[in-house]
Amino acid sequence: MRCVFSLLTGGLVCAFAQTPLQSLHGHVILSAAGSPYLVETSLVQTPRDTLVIEAGVRVLVDGYRKILLRGCVRIHGTASQPVIFSSADSTDSWIGLHWATGSKAMDVQELVVQNAFRNTVSASSGQMFQCRFQGNYYGLWVDDSPNLRLVRCEFQRNRYGLAVGSGILQISSSKISKNVYGIWLEGQGQIHGLENQIANNTEEDSPAITKPISRSYYSQRLLQALEARF
């Protein structure tokens, strides 16, 4: 009886064991065997570091934290075993993922990001293939990344599905639906690409792509940006 109890307890401990993820320095590999990983502090990857995430890895973020990626990033989920980033508490949110990888390799496949305030790609080049952004405030905000390609990605249940702050974004065969705003283009942001399904969003869908946003809106963003720096 005691043996059975020990086995059950051991099994439960194994089932809920979490690996703390405290640093992204060096060559970091997150494997399915160590999953789920628990992030309890904001993390920064330097341009000298490499992050590799294998299929089936789940990263849970505890608290209002951010993960800033500035080095080489390879996230290789599969259709049956995606890589998932979400908040540890499903009723809470976290800040989000920020790729600022510059010319470093950025290869992201089958990634799911949930419950973040804002996921950002700025001044980065690479590919996101079959990635899903669900239940975030900003699903993905892209700035100055003309060499970034989004292929067969999905944006659902975000406040802003896909926002392009500046530069050209290449996106194809992607689905943007059930968001409040499907696509949000700012200033000189543009979207290029084919076979995208942009439908069933609460507010402006395709008009946002062709219709210029009001001058008042630009002023609003500028006012916010100045306040941030003042």
Partner: protein
């Protein structure tokens, strides 16, 4: 003879005034291990006139924070840790979720700096906090640095003035020098402690090298305020600072040009616990 007598009396009078002039050395007691609690409030108004319409931003930020010395150095300076304890933020140009984001972000902000006895802050390090200023987070560090006085190196008397410059924001995208001018306006006792009332005038430019914004004209931001410095304890008691400016901004990311913007910021810092 009469003229000589008057000159003599005037000389005596001047000598008596000189004897009566109070001299004081202003120093932060950086090595004091006491944890200090402060409130910093920033009220901001930004107005842009588009010709046919006017857009304005009004915001109020209130941060309760504490400062703790973590390392003492032989030269009398110390490394100080600043940690926010409570944050309230409202803005007319942000959604409820965006305001909540700013509050939660600042609440976890902790940063350290090395402070000399004259109040100069250097070598700022953040722990796990990376404001995304390009996408409109708020820079709390800059606000703290802005209200921080830099004290004179030697003794000063009433009416004496001094000038210093301070770097606020050490990152390449967040760098600005603030020129600060001070005058010792008053010295008095309150509840057994000696307090110094300082006038602080500031002058600075927003950095034109930021990626998203460029200031088209060399306009300076000007500000003036009062600092109440506790000479006995070597700590700040209260700071009030009002800043005004007009900016001509070029924002290639957002649009090519914008009309002149009027900026007004009122900063108020005070000790929340004695």
């Amino acid at each position: 003879m009469r003229i000589l007598k008057q000159a003599f009396l005037l000389g005596i009078l001047l000598w008596l005034v000189a004897c009566n002039s109070q001299k004081v050395t202003l120093r932060f007691h950086a090595l004091d291990p006491t944890e200090l609690h402060f409130v910093l409030e920033s009220q901001m108004k930004l107005i842009v006139d588009n010709g046919d319409s006017v857009d304005a931003l009004g915001s109020n930020l209130q941060v309760l924070f504490h400062s703790t010395p973590v390392v003492n150095y032989d030269d009398g300076s110390a490394r100080i840790q600043i940690q926010a304890d409570s944050v309230s933020y409202r803005s007319t140009q942000r959604s409820v979720e965006e305001c909540l984001h700013v509050e939660r972000l600042l609440l976890q902000e902790g940063f350290q700096f090395k402070m000399a006895q004259d109040g100069m802050m250097q070598d700022i390090r953040t722990d796990g906090f990376f404001p995304d200023l390009e996408r409109t987070d708020i820079d709390f560090q800059r606000l703290v640095l802005k209200v921080q006085p830099i004290l004179p190196t030697g003794e000063v008397s009433l009416g004496d003035t001094w000038e210093r410059q301070q770097l606020v924001g050490e990152g390449p995208e967040n760098r600005a020098y603030v020129y600060k001018w001070f005058q010792l306006e008053d010295l008095y006792q309150r509840e057994g402690k000696q307090l110094a009332k300082l006038r602080m005038n500031i002058k600075y430019r927003l950095d034109s090298a930021t990626t998203g914004l460029r200031i088209r004209d060399p306009d300076f931001i000007l500000g003036s305020g009062i600092i109440l410095f506790n000479v006995t304890e070597g700590q700040l008691e209260e700071v009030s600072l009002e800043i005004d400016g007009s900016l001509n901004v070029l924002s290639p990311k957002i649009m090519d040009s914008l009309p002149t913007m009027q900026v007004r910021q009122v900063l108020h810092l005070w000790r929340s616990r004695p």
